[in-house]
Subunit: 391 residues, 2 copies
């Protein structure tokens, strides 16, 4: 008798699969390309009244005959057990559920996500750990990347593809005489994500230090601290904040503000002579299941909110709480980048900041080079490295 | 007396602005960088108990004095009238609300979004119209782009930046001996969006025709039709479907399926020797206000759903309805690309398809070149062109 489902016991568990789900995942060569694994049939090719006409054990496999068309599929029991339809297991590693949330104290200093560039290049296990750190902890600090212009692009090429923007394939972060962006001044910049006025915003950012602000250049240039942890020697200290950890903390203490931020699109913009970008998205982005999947925070480029009056007032209350939470010193990991250090971080999660730094007449001044890339390519490189390790 | 709001009459309307909103948008040189227009103050710099201590008319401006800190701002009346807080006006052009939805009949043939490449290069008005077509109608067909390898990158550079992927900066769409992707075979491919296994997926796709399938190559090679409209002369006809129009139609007729598709993340994947990509996102993506903002549809690269049993069954009902709707011939605009034609389309909205085509021994066969880019850069180029037109 035809049944709507296949029921079986595998791995000691009773499993149940709808006929249409099974058929949509049929591994036979007519349904799935043996080379690419891509599906060769469309959901509309599957009969509407599909059922399981018969099933039979064949060692490790279960043979299923479908009605009404008599198509036959073989499913391995272990594959079926691994795909049990008893909960949600369809994530792609991008929500809070697949992250290791942190406060600076969790990372300091023995547990800092870091690696030496020569080792990273030579040893797949080092590369695997470094890329895992970006995905799970939001960043990695690579040391001893030659402090030469353009090297930041080689770091990006080691795991993915550069996302070119109006700032170029790479951009120089140093004091410019006529800055189009506050990044290119010596001002302090509070924790923010980059390019919120872009959709899609770049999901990975790299910052490679070529030259630090010389000692005494800093506005509070009292020295002290040893790399990579430091206070304000010369200024220009880089701060990182885990935006997912902060969002989870906000939800725990002020669910109303969290909801307001997740449902209110905020308009961001950036204008210069050759560019006019805008995007309107919430400061906290959720997955369809309500899990934190992205943060976007950048007061500098926020544009006037256009909402009904009552919503504006509620938004500003939530916005201030969120900004205060993100600005708390105890959430900020301070790193003093030395020449050759390259930070690689998740721009959908980790906010970055810098202290002000000074310029001494005749001194060349602080100089970083940055570029953008994307998490999907980084995760792909990691998956392939893991596959090779297993072989 | 200090008030929480500024109230005024402008353009014959009574307007009301909360003090914090005004202050966050203060245009003075201490609050906004005169060069970049970027904000110099953070929301946390604004006093928590901010109010409007006084306001005074000054011709076209209103002078506001804030309490408790005495900060003074001047707002133009016309700017305030243009930013009235009486509704939602914060979009970025990316949802259904800013699109012109279409069925093929709406575009045929006098109203087809198209332009000649030489004119597009020479005349800003032609370029403006073509880029507007991509944003508002989802695509533009450029004619007379020299049918030379690599030209697709020049088309992309005319409005934005190439998004490099594992397929390269550009990719060749032609029959390959050992295809890693079904695109590189002669098979028919039904309407789909590209790279659903990527997050962020590329938001613009370009396809440039270098050579068509020769007549008689097509599986149903009966000839007929004249460019750009055609049936199956030689096969390899390109079909376009407005996914936003289809989503709106689904919502109108089957709100339950629409909701199911909007809230269920679907895992997509792509694997080859050097690549292992995955992303899990809904087939219909909504803005926080519930408006259609993206579609993602590609049966070939869908991976097994991992949901509780009851949700799987509901999902497949919705999925089949959605696939049937997208497959309807009356939703598909058929274009026969001639050598030199270059399609530029919104990969978050417009699905593309092709009919199968044949190969004649000794004939060089169909050859397209494609690349990816992003909508944000395209919209920026358009905004700058419009600005220049006004000057």
């Amino acid at each position: 008798m035809t049944s709507a489902d296949l029921e079986l016991t595998a791995g000691g568990r009773r499993l149940r699969f709808p006929a249409v789900w099974l058929r949509d995942n049929c591994p036979c060569a007519a349904c799935q390309d043996p080379g690419s694994g891509q599906k060769l049939t469309d959901i509309t090719d599957i009969p509407n009244d599909l059922g399981v006409a018969a099933s039979a054990d064949a060692g490790e496999s279960v043979l299923v005959t479908f009605a009404p068309d008599g198509h036959r599929s073989a499913f391995s029991r272990s594959w079926l057990a691994g795909h049990a339809l008893d909960g949600y297991a369809d994530g792609d590693g991008r929500t809070e559920d697949d992250k290791e949330l942190w406060l600076p104290g969790d990372l300091a200093p023995s547990n800092l996500p870091q690696a030496g560039w020569p080792r990273y290049l030579d040893r797949p296990t080092t590369r695997i750990r470094a890329l895992e750190d970006v995905l799970r902890r939001g960043f990695v600090l690579l040391h001893d990347v030659p402090a030469e212009p353009g090297m930041v692009l080689e770091v990006a090429a080691s795991f993915g593809f550069v996302r070119e923007t109006n700032y170029g394939r790479l951009f120089d972060v140093r004091v410019e005489p006529e800055p189009g962006n506050l990044a290119f001044t010596s001002r302090a910049i509070r924790p923010h994500t980059d390019n919120p006025y872009r959709d899609p915003a770049p999901t990975v950012q790299l910052l490679h230090c070529l030259r630090t602000a010389v000692k005494g250049d800093g506005p509070g240039g009292t020295g002290g601290g040893s790399p990579p942890y430091a206070e304000k020697a010369g200024g220009g200290v880089t701060g990182l904040v885990d935006g997912f950890a902060a969002a989870v903390a906000l939800r725990a203490t002020d669910a109303e503000s969290f909801d307001t931020l997740a449902r209110t699109p905020v308009p961001f913009g950036y204008i210069d002579k050759e560019t006019e970008l805008r995007a309107s998205l919430p400061l906290i982005q959720l997955s369809p299941r309500g899990r934190v999947r992205g943060v976007r925070f950048n007061n500098r480029s926020a544009r006037p909110l256009r909402l009904p009056y009552a919503e504006v007032t509620a938004f500003y209350t939530a916005y201030r709480r969120w900004a205060e939470l993100l600005a708390r010193p105890e959430r900020q990991l301070n790193l003093r980048l030395a020449p050759g250090d390259c930070l690689v971080f998740d721009n959908t999660r980790v906010l970055h900041a810098r202290t002000a730094f000074g310029m001494t007449a005749g001194s060349p001044g602080r100089h970083l080079q940055g570029c953008y890339a994307d998490l999907d390519g980084l995760a792909s490189t990691l998956a392939v490295l893991r596959r090779q390790e297993k072989q």
